[in-house]
């Protein structure tokens, strides 16, 4: 088969590499195999680093107990990367959730922690008293225990943990400013990749996933599905205790709110429902695992975004990235178009749904794209080999320690 990736700086994701193993072009098959082997060797080296005690900052997890204070300075260490499990269940859940999120970004996007340089992951549990929230403070994640009436412990939802850590990823990748549409995109990225962490951990396909954010943070007596629904924004809850889920599911109901605390900084937690639904529809239309094609399209679009990216600009970028990764007129690109169309965002310059292009059973590679593809794979192998070599040299001193 042919990969239509024409963006020379993109990294071919593992699922595409596996398909390339069936290419009719022997050189492509060989290069794809080399890339997969190098990636596997890199993962093995990283696993060995963890086993021998990785260097400080290598995405090491550390969990602290705030003991119901709102001061992080007075928190007590309860779990470290190489230590035994804590007696504190919340601490262990935070530790495991960090591990799952770290593994997701590494395995799916070849990303080394939130900054792609092995930044350590610090978590603080039992923050405050009856604190109904979890947040990212720019450097670490903080969890409340909930009030026991509406909410339980916020470490209980893996998607919430993935959500908060993804704020760190977004900060390093695109720096989406936390107000108005860029801020709603920032929130949406956290919901998208937070949900994907959960789906990946459970090996759920798009049609098996619940597409809910925080279904496990409510107490049993509360009638609510979750904090948010990506599949049906505005329906996650509606009861006297919580009020009604305020999220819109399309631009028709975009909430015009002031950029103030009272306006939720222009509705960042409210209008995120719109790009959330676009991602859900895209994933539904593509099918299979949402962290594969949809996740990679969104990740590449995030990487191409900046502090002030709007909904329209992001939509256009996802459409462009889908074309680069999977081909103009591909099923994946059409799904992206439909995803945004369903939330009433029209891709710029595309008047109608792209004409149906039947997927060939064995796509025929064009000579020009094969040359680019081989060059891309060779570069990817070289980059991976360099990283493996560096890790191996760091590992040797650890082995002799």
């Amino acid at each position: 088969m042919a990969c239509h990736c024409r963006y020379v700086n993109c990294i071919l994701p593992p699922h595409l590499l596996r398909r390339l193993l069936d290419s009719s072009n022997a050189e492509i098959r060989h290069a794809a195999l080399n890339t997969l082997l190098s990636t596997a060797r890199l993962r093995g080296e990283r696993a060995m680093m963890a086993a021998f005690g990785a260097a400080a900052g290598d995405a090491r997890r550390t969990i602290y107990d705030c003991r119901h204070s709102t001061s992080l300075r007075s928190a007590r260490l309860i779990r470290s990367e190489d230590g035994n499990a804590s007696r504190d269940d919340a601490g262990n859940r935070a530790f495991d959730g960090f591990g799952a999120t770290r593994a997701f970004y590494s395995e799916v996007f070849n990303r080394d922690s939130i900054d792609d340089q092995g930044r350590q992951l610090d978590g603080y549990v039992h923050y405050g008293r009856a604190y109904n929230n979890a947040f990212w403070d720019g450097r670490q994640m903080v969890f409340g225990d909930g009030d026991g009436v509406l909410f339980t412990d916020f470490t209980k939802s893996l998607d919430v943990i993935g959500h908060e850590l993804t704020h760190g990823v977004t900060e390093f990748v695109a720096g989406l400013e936390y107000h108005d549409q860029p801020g709603a995109l920032n929130e949406s990225m956290s919901d998208v990749f937070g949900s994907l962490v959960k789906q990946w951990s459970l090996k759920q396909s798009a049609d098996q996933a619940d597409w809910l954010i925080g279904p496990d943070v409510f107490t049993p007596g509360i009638q609510a599905d979750a904090l948010r629904s990506m599949k049906a924004p505005g329906t996650a809850y509606d009861n006297p205790d919580l009020g009604k889920d305020p999220q819109p599911d399309s631009m028709d109901n975009y909430a015009q709110l002031p950029n103030t605390d009272e306006g939720d900084n222009g509705g960042v937690h409210i209008n995120s429902g719109i790009p959330n639904k676009a991602f859900y529809v895209t994933s539904r239309e593509i099918g299979g695992f949402a962290w594969e094609a949809p996740g990679h399209i969104w990740y590449e679009a995030l990487r191409a975004s900046g502090p002030n990216t709007s909904f329209q600009e992001f939509a256009d970028t996802t459409y462009q990235k889908a074309g680069q990764l999977y081909g103009a007129g591909s099923a994946q690109q059409k799904a992206v178009f439909e995803g945004w169309a369903e939330v009433k965002i029209k891709i710029t310059g595309v008047d109608t749904t792209p004409a149906p292009t039947p997927a060939p059973p064995t796509p025929t590679p064009a000579p020009a794209s094969d040359k680019e593809l081989i060059a891309l794979l060779v570069k990817q192998v070289d980059d991976l080999s360099a990283t493996v070599k560096q890790l191996a040299s760091e590992l040797n001193p650890a082995k002799s320690a």
């Binding site: 947040f135 990212w136 403070d137 009020g243 939720d264």
Partner: protein, 100 residues
């Protein structure tokens, strides 16, 4: 003295529509004295410095409007700046206010 607490940016009700209100006119003398003490302590401690450099995400902001003798004073703090005294006043209001 009357106090109205609003919370913004949280997982539910990010625009703080659901206010919590307490009024000393509806309290026992003992409770009213306790409330007055907590208000005085919260007023005396200015908000802490924000160390997040604007990079905090999903952090909440809180306002407590204190109405007394025909005047209103607004105390406003966030997860990044909240003092212990403000947190205690906030918790007290949530415990004793009627459910919104």
């Amino acid at each position: 003295m009357k106090a109205t607490l609003r919370e913004f940016g949280g997982p539910i009700d990010p625009t703080g529509q659901r206010a919590r209100v307490v009024d000393t006119d509806a309290m026992s003398r003992e409770m009213a004295d306790e409330f007055a003490r907590l208000v005085a302590e919260a007023r005396a401690q200015p908000p802490g410095a924000d160390a997040t450099a604007g990079k905090g995400r999903d952090m909440m902001t809180y306002s407590i409007a204190i109405e007394e003798n025909g005047q209103t004073q607004l105390l406003k703090q966030s997860d990044a700046t909240r003092t212990q005294a403000f947190a205690e006043l906030q918790d007290w209001i949530k415990r004793h206010a009627a459910r919104p």
